[in-house]
Symmetry: D4
Subunit: 228 residues, 8 copies
């Protein structure tokens, strides 16, 4: 590979915002240092803000050296440079079954907040202690979308789905051991849910769930812009 | 089993409408005749309308004998008794990759229409002839949610996801042969989609996709009712 | 195969009762007519009662012709010749998520009753309408063991497991479609349950669950006989 | 995540003892140091005893620094602070097929002992040398429940199941290589067992098996408390 | 396809006997009538005897019409025209776990007998009643090779393997239901056996096991012919 | 193993060039140092050029010490000693869905160039931004074969397959996470493609795709040599 | 679904010939009668010839009633209306491992012939009798592409791949039983082939292999048209 | 676990030699140092010789410190203390497809030699260069049993099986990448082999194959001892 052509490989999709309503986000994992810095710089100069997911401590320090305002959350691996005047709107709920699911939950919550969505967190409310969920249900019902995150106990989404009127985006996590099959078992549980209103994203994909929840939240707040 | 207690087994969930905004729907497949008629009768007297999915020709005739107004679509297996004055609102798009995916698409479209959602259909626009999708894109962009249905070619959802600003609900179908694994291959394609805004429901679950699309459509049309 | 030696193939295990506390039971499925009748006759003459599982209508008629007192339940496929003076003891609860799980539930309930265990049934109390389970919980808590039967929604066992103090035997069923993988998805959900006190038997194995629940029930009623 | 709210994430379930008869247990694996110490401290002050599973050497030292009475077993990863006056009751048997299954067996045995159950161990009695099992059978028969632990050779549970009158809780282990599929093969063997009285927990889940065996042992010793 | 060239498609391997010591055998399943008769005729004129496996009742009648001496066993689907003066030599043992495994066992036994091997049958000696196996062990030990056939309970091979000094050829069967995965679970059990001396053939492949057992039996009776 | 016979184990296939038109290539991964150097030396003296794939940095240095002209590409792990006067002919296109697929793409591109094929690269043109592919399509159409490389988004091959008239060799990559199953999901997507003209090689097998593309390119440039 | 719009669902792709060099082909399986006839008629009027795959006897009669010149091959399910003056060019070889693979082979051969490619057939040359392949190798070597079709024995492609200089398109078939997993085992064998020059299409996809072989054959006969 | 009882866990099976003809062998992997040394010492004092498999360099040094005569082969991980006067008898052939399969092959070869079997090695004779196998076939034909070892190319066993008259024990290896599924693909290839006389052991189980080959070799050399 002629290394001079390198940045032609990453074709920044500058039309994306107009088409989809979202700026491009950087999936940091396994990107090399030079390349990562370059993308951050370009996106920052284009949009005045950047969101990176799955960033290591090393990558965070690298970016923070150049962009001292960048905030890094070591639990979720989110790194972001945010605009000062950012407002949040609407409401979504991010729920987890256990404490081990929190890294995925924070990837979801911080992403949604970056996209301008107001977020409330309900962690460790899994179905093996159903009263924990029942207690916070009146709060969860106020959200425009619910993200339900669970690993070995993929059942959380089904129970919530039967109790609320808005879409539930289910995120299986790789948390667990043995026959959890790296999250595949939770994914199958969720896909087979007998409750209505549940759809599923990839294992550990907190980012993806936040994207969809934000799309729904925007529709709830602004209505259908394009139809008019 | 004391057969006299039979109907206690199917606990009709009459509080569901208040809680979730949807009346109960009948999954007809493998229900016996007496039981099916009884559920239809009860739901009709409660709600003045009934939706049944996966109904066989035999079941359709049975129901139509008692409810002559019931409409049956043999392609999707949908049977419904609808209110006269039903209005539709908003807009969703139902898309399929091939003609073989139409039964699932009609399950989705007819369900969404029953739930009061306006539906436009875009069938046989799979990615192996990408111009077919490009041609109808300006229409699809007007929807509040897109249902993307595809079997062996699960790729349709990814392409649409990259082009629109609203949530795409992906429905894998069992259409295909060989390594399609009864739809599991398409499901995995869709779960792994690198496009944003895509979530997935069970194989052939047109009904489930319509439910979610309707939830989103209602939020877009009415905004967040519960938050106020 | 020298067909005259045929019945030597099925070695009736007449010592079983002393060793395990249970008489031999007949798994009728795919046994031919002559062979089935012969086993029923032998077991009847040995024990004065016989339990058969997975019997077809045809097999039921065959057996009832010779044993007019034999009772057949077409939903579960159980056929049994029971002693007149049978008493029942203790209590177990048999629960299902949906109505489609009832055939497996009745296999469990009728088997347990044959083994002398008192049974209460709680059907269609799946987690997508969690109030249904909450309503009957005070009743379920009285049992010495709970059998939790669920197909596409394998989550029922987890929720019950978090609420009761006795063992929960989880039975995945093949009910569902698409990614249910013939019951394997529900099995994986249950094996990965994050609630305590849950163990799992084979898909659709109502009989096996009843056997274990009866073992537990006997220990609760009679204490540890062998230890003395 | 606002880190000050951290401990709200782990909702200690203080009602659990009344509901299920067991205090909460700490799954140490992948919990960070501060969080782990905090949970241990809270549970200790609530209950005067704590059980932790899957603890690393590092975690053990951390806990022992604060609680010098904590006992750590490096083979199983069990760490516990036990009450002085603990009594044990009843009897369960913990059996393994090979020596490599001992870490899981000790997780089971030490957990059951913590819960007040008397335990006897029978290790390395796998079916490839069937005389080893036959020799100890008269001892095993005295237990109220048997835990059968086996990796590549999942067959141990079937053989024991055919010989005893009490429930056998089968624990597949990830021991083995090649087509053992990380324990999934042993799990499938056990789920398909043709012997009666066998139910299965997750791969390597010694803790879960001990919990169930204790439930059964308590019923055998105390009878059905709740029914009265 | 020019249908006149049809029989060129099945290239009879007339050199096979010299190379491998076995004549060609006909796998009847799904072969059409004309083609089947033609192969039987050709092999009969070449070798004076023919063995067919997996033959349906219809195919058996067809062949018996032309070859009245052909013997058909409806349990295993074996059809054979045998030489009058056939002698048998050595000894192999064919064992099954249950009665449902007998069709596969008879395919094995009848094939081995056709190949000139003396066979003893030990059926329904599965490990859930281990005494049944122990009782016949002194007999089984006399064989030059043991075929161990088992479905849901794949454990039979492991137990035998630990008790005898000759090779055990394990045949998983598709007998069972639920998580037996059409025999794959039994196959995995057998492949992972911790006993020595066990190798495995395809699910339900009684024929293949008999072929190998005959190879071993011949070596035991005649020694290594080719080496001299 | 008598270590002196070591090199007899690697039977260099010196007739390969005549038979297949390609010299032997070295798969470096997990080969030890001595062995690797020896093979490189032998192949160099035979052919005056050598291609190695999956070489580590360490292996590259080792080879470059002995062959200073050897070129190493750390992204793909390709190391090669090439003839000075090498000409390239025809044209193939190497396309990737994302930037993370580039290591596999470079393995393909550099291999094809080594084999004398002219290569054009089109990277990061995945279907989630379909305009990127549309823009370069007129260029891609000029190739004699297209290599389509994609990980989580296996859909690239289908879209290209529907647009060009030449064979598309699809290479699934292990890029992705969660339900990507190490590349198996992308492989299944590609095998099930509903577009024509697509065949698939192993996950991450850039080398294999380049080999086939070169075979096709040679046929396009030289016609069928062997037929004349 | 408004049934009047029915034929709008099947968007005939009349630009396909120009873009890809091939007319549209009809996959008959599960298409209903009216729809099938309509597509055949439209394609016939457009192109003067039609190819249908996977046609049942019933469908064949239906088509032949309207198009008496249509030829039907019941082995492969191919039905075609061909132009009188069709010429064939180049050469491909279609090989099978066994006789049971012939239906797939004929789908491939008849399709390739329809597309104007000269075809030679080599059936029943599987690797369990390697001399059969060696004997015809000099013939196979003359082809511009080889289609290697095999079920339980997926090894045929590897052996051919090591012997010829042209691309081998491997087609796994669903032929076999037990652990063949409906063809998936053969597919995995072929994907993992250590021979070069092998790519794989879906299970039983003779049509797809013929399409690719024809693309390659055209390039060999005509060279790269588009590049000039 | 009371650590003083430690060695009671590993129940040395001193009757094994009489029953099976083989002394116990030590599977070293993951055994701790003290335990390993103890087993070696006990077995050495009982039998005057010991075989260990899967030993690490560290373990080898440990054993050699106490038993300076112990020989260690770092490629296969075999460590053995052998009797001086050991004789070898009969003949088996150990074959591999590639050079990467040699570690498994040496585990097989060295084990068989330890058991007193004469071994010839044929490495790197995989089917992608079929002439390599053909060349050594006359030698291989002299063996009493053939061990065929292959990873990504599982086809070697099928080809050999079709050419020899003795049993072929197939060993799949985990060699390969991508869709090799850690050796499972090769295992499936071998289990589905259409050649006769092939049975399969676990992935990478060279030891197990050597055990069976020795059993067969002994029968060929000594005939059936037990029958007399």
């Amino acid at each position: 590979m002629n290394i001079e052509d390198k940045d032609s490989f990453a074709k920044l999709d500058t039309d994306r915002k107009r088409r989809t309503g979202f700026n491009e986000v950087v999936f940091c994992q396994s990107k090399n240092d030079d390349f990562l810095l370059e993308i951050f710089s370009k996106l920052y100069s284009l949009n005045g803000e950047v969101l990176g997911t799955r960033a290591s401590e090393h990558q965070a320090k690298l970016i923070q050296k150049k962009f001292p305002d960048a905030l890094y959350d070591s639990i979720s691996g989110i790194i972001k440079i945010e605009k000062k005047d950012k407002k949040s709107e609407g409401l979504i709920a991010v729920c987890t079954a256990g404490t081990a699911d929190i890294p995925v939950a924070e990837e979801a919550a911080l992403t949604a907040e970056f996209f301008g969505t107001k977020v409330k967190r309900y962690y460790d409310i899994g179905v093996s202690g159903i009263h924990r969920l029942i207690n916070v249900l009146p709060e969860i019902e106020k959200a425009n979308a619910v993200i339900a995150i669970a690993g070995m106990e993929g059942a959380l989404a089904s129970v919530i789905g039967g109790l609320v009127s808005v879409p539930v985006i289910a995120v299986p996590t790789s948390v667990g051991y043995g026959a959890n099959l790296g999250g595949l078992s939770a994914l199958l549980t969720m896909i087979n849910s007998c409750a209505n209103g549940i759809s599923v994203v990839n294992i550990d994909n907190g980012y993806g769930a936040a994207y969809i929840a934000t799309q729904i939240n925007r529709l709830a707040v602004h209505g259908s812009v394009k139809q008019n």
